[in-house]
């Protein structure tokens, strides 16, 4: 039965919203901060509570919000028995941890941060349990890795904390990556990323060819998260976290996420041989290995960590069995493990907090000093051992019962024997936890005299130990919860029945063996411990560090090889790749036969072509003589302009030739400050290779251009030709396109040009005030300057030319709409006219006569163009729609007025400002290097010279 509930997304988002609060509330005090952390948790629990009765009756609540439907990703949530059990566990333990952490953390710890991280993590975990979309689930999955990284590394000042956090993130993050692959395969098999669809398609999935790869990838994610062998090593290192974090992450949440996922995917993936042999075997190995190592750990938290590893192995093994009864046992043990393990971690934290050590060898006799803690610790540890009347016993017996029925590779003894062995060690380390910590005589060498903590600190573990006993004595209490979750896991209605006494069966005998063996092992602990310490064992952290070190070294090596800072090499690789890829696609695409007739080739064109080609070759050959190369390159610009004229592009020719002029001036200015020759640095082989790449690129582009020109292509230009005069009011179609049809483009382009000008100006400012400025002042740039005066002829000529050039510029601007010309060209022409003044009369003299700042010109230009465009809004038309009309003012002829001309004025001003600002900025370098300035209109002032002569004559010289 499905029912929608809008509460689900709210529950899922609550912790994330709540996470914003503690960081702020910490200013109101630590208790207030903790209380506000509890609020979203309690709210979510209450909301879940309203849905719980329905879930127990078998209703599945769903909620869907479309997110990225193209990807199959939607924020879909659903709540069934399994999800409800986990959600309650996460929130319930989260609440207890909030309380515990309030007392555990010291005043020096940033508590607001802690609670923020805690809520983030809680939200991520909750999201995993509630997701109905596997892509969404993956997002939450990664979020748990990230937020647990923050939690584990909470004590940033401890190197262990940082390293542990990094290791946890690396291992679980890598597993998460594998799982993404697996989930995507799964989604492809089913054709839907919705969990409910996937769970219903179990048979289809298991029959698919890609079942095994998907299974292995998903299990990699689950195993890394749940610390299964051989990925178990990160969990003990994550114990460097504060104890509340360990208690939360490593009992109820983070490590259970892997188990949850296996349980969640159980109907879709379980029941095959592959599932059994991978999951059950890994679980079995982990269970035994974890239990054995736990016995020899002296650190209380390390002991509990390996015990957790062992219990997670147990759960994995049960799920791996693939039977419904085993699944029920797994669900029951998840619940029991949560109650006793969270309490045990908190107990260990209390001991550490009070005695200032967690080393079992330095503890003992605490029962008399901290009786309440000792009682809690004993109850929960007995449950961990699987002693009757505690809840751990019930699920452990179910496990042994299932193990006794299971044969591995036709061997009926292997699984039961190893399961019993694991249990023996489990009993041993549990009893060691009790007797070596709380038992024995009181010592006098504790680092700090222990006593029971305040109520707030032991309240949470005490509550949990009440559950331990309640379920242990009255197992039927847990039945409805387990029934509900097991039904969801197996997909079949389950009515489990738990009892303390099952009669004498294999499981009971195995339990008894375990308890007896455990006691014996504990008694023999000292000699065994010595033997264990004497045996060489692989150190997981050393292996991990070595592996990471090698990986980092390999990556750095690769990066250094591929990305060594030699941009010339990247360019070579890039050019060669473009040619090769271009050739491949060129060959692959079917190209039709040429459709255009070739134009005749007049002799004049051949001469122009020859000059261009010759100039290109000369530039390449003489590029080391920089000045010569600069002179030759201007020939190319000239020939290109001539070509434009010949091939019906007068506007381009005008623009090209004016740009050519300013470019050469710019490069000349720059060359003044750069070395005048380029040394030979690359080897002959390298030059040959470069030449090869260059020739290949040239041939390729020539072939492409030829193919293009000899074929007809469909064009949208007919529209422009037809509407230029009728709609735009101009006969120069190129200009009308620029200022009207594609005015928006032009608007963007003048802004880019303006920004380039401003950027150059700003760069120059920075440069001149830094070491470069010092270098300039220290330079001899001024020394090799010719000390000739500004040539008088040129000064006079340019001054005469200025008004003429201005008139030409204005003329070109005004005719632009109907004849070749326009704002771009006019801006360049006026720039050149002004530049001539700079060259002829000197920088300072010209600057002093300049009334308008070039920055301002750029701004005014952009504003005029923009306002013109906006003017169209007044008429209710879109941005940059133009208007034109004809005006008759006697006595002149009728003439046209168009808003496009106003826009073109903006273009003109912006181009003028940008070009002038660029060259002006570069010229400042010269001034900075100590060039002297002529303050007079001309360096050579005849009147002054005569006066001096007169004066000298009077003095009789």
């Amino acid at each position: 039965m499905h029912q929608t509930s809008s509460l689900l997304p709210i529950i899922a988002i609550l912790p994330f919203i709540g996470a914003l609060v503690p960081g702020v509330m910490i200013r109101a005090g630590r208790t207030a901060c903790a209380s506000f952390t509890a609020v979203p948790t309690v709210l979510a629990l209450v909301m879940l509570g309203t849905l719980a009765p329905g879930v127990i009756e078998g209703t599945v609540y769903t909620a869907k919000i479309a997110w990225i439907p193209q990807l199959g990703l939607e924020a879909a949530f659903f709540l069934d028995g399994l999800g409800l059990m986990f959600a309650c566990m996460i929130l319930g333990v989260g609440l207890l941890i909030t309380l515990y952490a309030r007392f555990y953390l010291s005043k020096a710890d940033p508590m607001g941060q802690f609670y923020t991280y805690l809520l983030l993590f809680q939200g991520a975990m909750l999201g995993i349990t509630l997701s109905d979309n596997i892509l969404l689930l993956l997002i939450f999955w990664e979020l748990t890795s990230l937020s647990s990284f923050l939690l584990i590394g909470y004590w940033k000042h401890l190197p262990e904390g940082r390293q542990g956090a990094r290791m946890a993130l690396t291992v679980t993050g890598a597993g998460g990556l594998a799982m993404i692959g697996g989930m995507l395969i799964l989604g492809n098999i089913v054709g839907s990323y919705n969990l409910t669809d996937i769970l219903a398609a179990g048979d289809q999935i298991k029959a698919d060819v890609l079942y095994l790869p998907a299974l292995i990838l998903i299990l990699l994610g689950a195993f890394t998260k749940s610390a299964q062998f051989p990925f178990h090593f990160w969990l003990p290192h994550a114990m460097a976290a504060p104890t509340p974090v360990s208690a939360y992450l490593h009992s109820a949440t983070m490590v259970k996420a892997g188990v949850f996922l296996m349980a969640r995917m159980w109907p879709a993936l379980a029941g095959t041989d592959a599932w059994f042999y991978i999951v059950a075997t890994v679980g079995l190995i982990t269970m035994v290995l974890g239990a054995v190592i736990a016995l020899f750990k002296d650190d209380l938290k390390a002991l509990l960590a390996f015990s957790t590893v062992s219990h997670l192995g147990l759960l994995t093994m049960l799920l791996g069995f693939g039977t419904e009864a085993a699944a029920i046992a797994a669900v029951f043990h998840i619940l029991n493990h949560l109650t006793f393990k969270a309490a045990l971690f908190m107990t260990a934290g209390i001991v550490d907090h009070e005695a200032h050590t967690r080393d079992i060898k330095r503890l003992g006799g605490l029962a008399k000093l901290m009786p309440i803690t000792a009682v809690i610790g004993t109850i929960t540890a007995l449950s961990m051992a699987g002693i009757p009347l505690f809840n751990g016993f019930l699920s452990k017996e179910l496990m042994l019962y299932e193990a006794a029925k299971t044969s591995w590779w036709e061997n009926p003894w292997l699984v039961p024997a190893l399961a019993t062995l694991g249990s023996v060690f489990s009993v041993a380390y549990s009893l060691r936890f009790i007797f070596h910590t709380f038992g024995g005589p009181v010592r006098d060498d504790y680092p700090h005299t222990p006593h029971d903590p305040p109520f707030g600190m032991y309240a949470a573990p005490a509550l949990l130990s009440v559950f331990v006993i309640a379920i242990g004595v009255m197992p039927f209490l847990a039945e409805p919860i387990v029934a509900m979750a097991a039904t969801a896991v197996t997909g079949v209605e389950q009515h489990p029945h738990f009892a303390i006494w099952h009669g004498v069966n294999a499981a009971l005998i195995m339990s008894l063996i375990a308890i007896a063996g455990g006691v014996v092992l504990l008694l023999l602990h000292s000699p065994l411990d010595r033997a264990w310490l004497a045996t060489p064992r692989p150190e997981a952290k050393a292996i991990f560090d070595a592996l990471m070190g090698a990986l980092v070294k390999a990556t750095q090596g690769l990066t250094a090889t591929l990305h060594n800072g030699a941009i010339s090499r990247y360019l070579a690789v890039f050019s060669a790749t473009v040619v090769i890829v271009g050739y491949l696609s060129f060959r692959g695409g079917g190209m039709g036969a040429p459709t255009r007739e070739l134009l005749p080739t007049p002799i004049l064109a051949v001469i122009g072509w020859a000059m261009l080609v010759l100039a290109t070759i000369l530039v390449v050959v003489f590029h080391r003589k920089r000045f010569a190369a600069l002179v030759i390159i201007s020939v190319i610009g000239l020939m290109v302009s001539a070509g434009f004229v010949y091939m019906s592009a007068p506007d381009l020719a005008l623009t090209q030739i004016s740009v050519e002029t300013v470019t050469i001036m710019l490069l000349l200015l720059a060359l003044h400050f750069l070395p005048k020759e380029t040394p030979v640095e690359s080897s002959a082989g390298r030059r040959g290779l470069d030449a090869g790449i260059a020739i290949a690129g040239g041939v390729a582009i020539a072939a492409l251009a030829f193919a293009f020109m000899t074929r007809d292509v469909s064009t949208i230009s007919d529209y422009h030709l037809a509407n230029s005069y009728a709609g735009g009011g101009g006969t120069n179609v190129v200009n009308v396109i620029l200022v009207d049809f594609r005015g928006y483009d032009t608007y963007g382009e003048i802004i880019v040009l303006g920004i380039a000008g401003l950027a150059i100006y700003a760069l120059m400012e920075t440069l001149l005030s830094g070491p470069a400025g010092a270098r300039l002042r220290n330079s001899g740039y001024n020394a090799d300057r010719s000390h000739d005066r500004h040539p008088l002829m040129m000064v006079v000529a340019t001054r005469l030319m200025l008004p003429i050039a201005g008139v030409v510029g204005i003329f070109i601007f005004l005719r632009g709409h109907n004849e070749p010309g326009g704002g771009f060209v006019a801006g360049l022409v006026i720039s050149i006219a002004l530049l001539m003044q700079y060259m002829a009369s000197g920088f300072a003299w010209t600057t002093r006569r300049q009334r308008l700042e070039y920055h301002g010109l750029i701004g005014i230009g952009v504003v005029i163009a923009g306002l013109t465009g906006m003017g169209a809004w007044l008429a209710g038309l879109p941005f940059l729609t133009s208007w034109f009309g004809y005006v008759h003012l006697p006595p002149i002829e009728e003439f046209e007025l168009a808003t496009a001309a106003l826009f073109d004025l903006g273009v003109f001003l912006c181009v003028l400002g940008a070009v002038m600002l660029m060259l002006y900025s570069l010229s400042r370098l010269a001034r900075h290097s100590g060039e002297t300035v002529n303050r007079e209109p001309m360096d050579y002032d005849p009147s002054k010279a005569i006066k001096t002569f007169d004066h000298d004559a009077r003095e009789g010289v």
């Binding site: 592009a649 750069l674 020539a702 949208i716 660029m918």
Partner: protein, 135 residues
């Protein structure tokens, strides 16, 4: 005619690529200029070549043939923008040369050239900057 234009584009491109693969800034600037010519002519040529058919409308001749105006409009702005780009590049080159003391484009080594002006022994006094005499 088409072959001439295509081969000219090819020569410009080849020269441009060879020069941008050199190790000094000035050669790279020259190479980029050549490439700009090549790209602009290439873009222009995509409209197809026509002689005596400038896209200036003849109001009195409806049968007149015109060349494709759109590539011309695109190339016109491209020419101006490529000037802006060259200017920014030259600025970078100058800045790098004056800051680092060499005009190499690769960053594998950063030793100043012997001929480059030195910074040594000069106090980096910002107030020592000569004032522009605009007053």
């Amino acid at each position: 005619m088409e072959a001439l234009v295509a081969s000219a584009i090819g020569f410009l491109t080849a020269g441009g690529i060879y020069l941008i693969l050199r190790l000094r800034v000035f050669a790279v600037v020259l190479g980029l200029s050549l490439l700009s010519y090549a790209v602009n002519v290439f873009l222009f040529s995509t409209g197809g070549l026509r002689i005596n058919a400038a896209p200036i409308l003849d109001k009195y001749n409806d049968a007149a043939v015109y060349t494709d105006p759109l590539p011309q409009a695109l190339v016109l702005t491209a020419i101006v923008i490529s000037f802006g780009m060259t200017a920014v590049l030259v600025m970078f080159a100058l800045g790098a040369y004056l800051e680092a003391g060499n005009d190499k484009i690769d960053m594998t080594e950063v030793e100043p050239d012997a001929e480059a002006p030195t910074v040594d022994g000069i106090a980096l006094d910002m107030s020592a900057e000569p004032t522009e005499d605009r007053a």
